[in-house]
């Protein structure tokens, strides 16, 4: 805006450098660790110069964890698969349930619509354990304990409010006149919804789905409480892995990198939608 003095430019430069350092250094360092053997990790002082090795990643992918004294089976790839399956399926279910409902809340004013919409939003804010603890007991009784189905249902607690509120906002931003015109031309409600409303809200639905996927992927508490080892996603699996593998720090680092890589990739691929979705979900609706 105004003229900037050289001093200010320098100060800004320092501030931005510090910001980048603080936020990027942990990721950078864990990536470095993931290519190191335990011997180089344990060296003091730490050094960024070392012979990179792929043995940590190889160990995780083959499921054979080789320590100095023994060899151990680990199911990290299984955890990764669980994360992928749970997140994808939850988002798919969330879209099927949420998009029509979002349309109803945006377009068709009906008795109690605001109250119902608010109740659904309020799940976003409720403490997860409030619902999870009784559910552990119920799930045991009805046989949903440690099933993908049960977990996908509970994941709707995060996925559904997110999809509902972001997609609703998008539907509201589409002028209703286009739909009216199409309907007056003699088309059914369902055709109008499919041919006009859905494509126009496409970017919003995509943003909501992406964000919901990331939130589902990053979730920790649901699976910690409700899933046992064979259904655990990476967030929970990684924690168990630390206690199991003891001192194989390089492998833990590699595990962390593999577990956050998918969400990073998604964020880079769709950053524009994502930022929009984040600010929409929180501020605008």
């Amino acid at each position: 805006m105004n003229t900037t003095s050289p001093l200010e430019t320098v100060l800004r430069g320092i501030a931005i450098t510090l910001v980048i350092l603080f936020f990027m250094f942990p990721i950078f360092w864990i990536i470095l660790m993931s290519f190191q053997t335990n011997a180089t990790i344990l060296q003091v002082p730490p050094s960024v110069f070392f012979e990179p090795t792929l043995q940590n990643y190889r160990g995780l992918i083959t499921g054979q964890l080789v320590t100095d004294t023994s060899s151990l089976e680990i199911r990290f790839m299984g955890n990764l698969f669980n994360s992928l399956f749970l997140s994808t399926a939850s988002v798919a279910v969330g879209l099927i349930l949420g998009v029509p409902a979002a349309y109803a809340f945006a377009r068709l004013k009906f008795r109690g619509s605001e109250d119902i919409a608010f109740t659904l939003l309020s799940f976003r804010f409720a403490p997860p354990l409030l619902v999870l603890l009784p559910l552990t007991i119920y799930f045991q009784q009805i046989g949903l304990a440690n099933t993908y189905g049960g977990l996908i249902w509970v994941y709707q607690l995060i996925v559904l409010p997110l999809i509902l509120w972001i997609v609703r906002g998008y539907f509201e931003d589409i002028p209703a006149d286009i739909e009216y015109a199409y309907r007056i031309a003699g088309h059914r409600w369902w055709t109008t919804f499919r041919k006009i409303a859905l494509p126009l809200a496409g970017p919003g639905i995509a943003a909501a789905a992406l964000l919901a996927f990331i939130f589902a992927w990053n979730n920790f508490i649901f699976a910690l409480v409700l899933a046992s080892a064979d259904k655990q996603p990476v967030t929970v699996g990684a924690l168990a892995f630390i206690t199991a593998s003891g001192v194989q720090y390089g492998q833990i680092a590699a595990g962390i990198i593999l577990s956050i890589a998918p969400t990073f990739a998604l964020a880079l691929y769709a950053q524009r939608y994502l930022v929009e979705g984040l600010s929409l979900g929180a501020v605008k609706g």
Partner: protein, 307 residues
């Protein structure tokens, strides 16, 4: 209804009446909603019972006894104190940092946009995994941060394993993960502000700090409030970072509400106390989210009015 028969389809299909349509559309979501309400009300009942998984025979309603017990229970007051400290410290630092970074990156330049995209990365890291990352970096043996602290002369700085510094450590992790969230919201807010007041101020030669206090901040207030409330609601319920980092320890230094409830349920199998703790946390978040939603609705109305 006679006019509706003109041009009616030759074959009668199952048709949903207009009046029923919204209910049909939102019914599946509502069913999930009811499925969630059942455990919620169950939790309310549990909180009114003396209920331990280890002593099922002694299970009975003791009504408000669980809540009354809290009054004289030092560990409850510790939980409340720890939770509030955590939430206020984390959100306070995140707000200041987030606002600062948003102001730094306010101009739409290629570099600024690149930095703001980079800052998405911590936000895209699962909080539990972020805690593990920081755990590796603060390991007393080989952790890079322990090494830095040592070389700066803090030889007895033990991060999360010392009750004195455990809170600081988990707050740093929270700040690392969530500052970008506040930054993104405020950046979106800053960039959407109308330009006329700023141009007018520049023409009049108003000093920059004055512009910031009298124009930028007031116009940004709705965004600030939303960001703070949103983070407040989430951080008072923090579980992932604390549990993954220290499991509530050392001692009771980090037993926030959800961690305490989790430990009560799975370690002491005290379902009643655990549920009562969750009800109190729910009351706090309900209060906060009401402020949040009111503020959010007002913001939405205003945006609707402008567009």
């Amino acid at each position: 209804m006679s006019d509706a028969t003109i041009g009616a389809p030759p074959r009668r299909r199952f048709k949903v009446s207009r009046r029923m349509l919204p209910y049909v559309l939102s019914l599946p979501a509502l069913l999930v909603c009811i499925g969630i309400l059942i455990p919620f009300f169950t939790a309310v009942l549990y909180s009114l019972q003396r209920y331990r998984l280890s002593q099922p025979w002694a299970r009975e309603y003791n009504w408000g006894q669980n809540y009354l017990n809290f009054l004289s229970d030092a560990s409850f007051w510790n939980t409340l104190k720890v939770s509030l400290t955590y939430a206020f410290c984390a959100v306070g630092i995140e707000l200041l940092l987030g606002l600062g970074i948003a102001l730094l990156l306010q101009k739409r330049t290629r570099f600024n946009n690149f930095v703001s995209i980079m800052l998405l990365m911590p936000l895209m890291t699962a909080p539990a995994l972020a805690a593990l990352m920081w755990k590796l970096m603060t390991n007393p043996g080989f952790g890079i941060l322990s090494y830095f602290a040592n070389s700066l002369g803090f030889t007895d700085f033990n991060w999360a394993s010392d009750p004195q510094t455990a809170m600081l450590t988990v707050v740093i992790v929270d700040v690392w993960v969530y500052t970008p969230f506040i930054m993104i919201l405020l950046l979106a807010g800053l960039r959407s502000l109308p330009q006329q007041p700023f141009e007018a101020a520049a023409l009049d030669g108003v000093p920059r700090w004055f512009v910031f206090y009298r124009i930028t901040l007031p116009m940004l207030t709705p965004f600030l409030l939303t960001a703070v409330l949103f983070r407040m609601i989430e951080s008072i319920q923090q579980f992932d970072i604390i549990y993954a980092m220290t499991q509530g320890g050392p001692g009771d230094a980090l037993t926030v509400f959800q961690v305490e409830a989790y430990l009560n349920f799975f370690q002491s199998t005290n379902v009643g106390r655990s549920a009562a703790l969750m009800m109190i946390l729910w009351a706090i978040t309900y209060f906060l989210s009401n402020i949040f939603i009111k503020n959010w609705l007002r913001l939405r109305e205003r945006q609707r009015g402008e567009s």
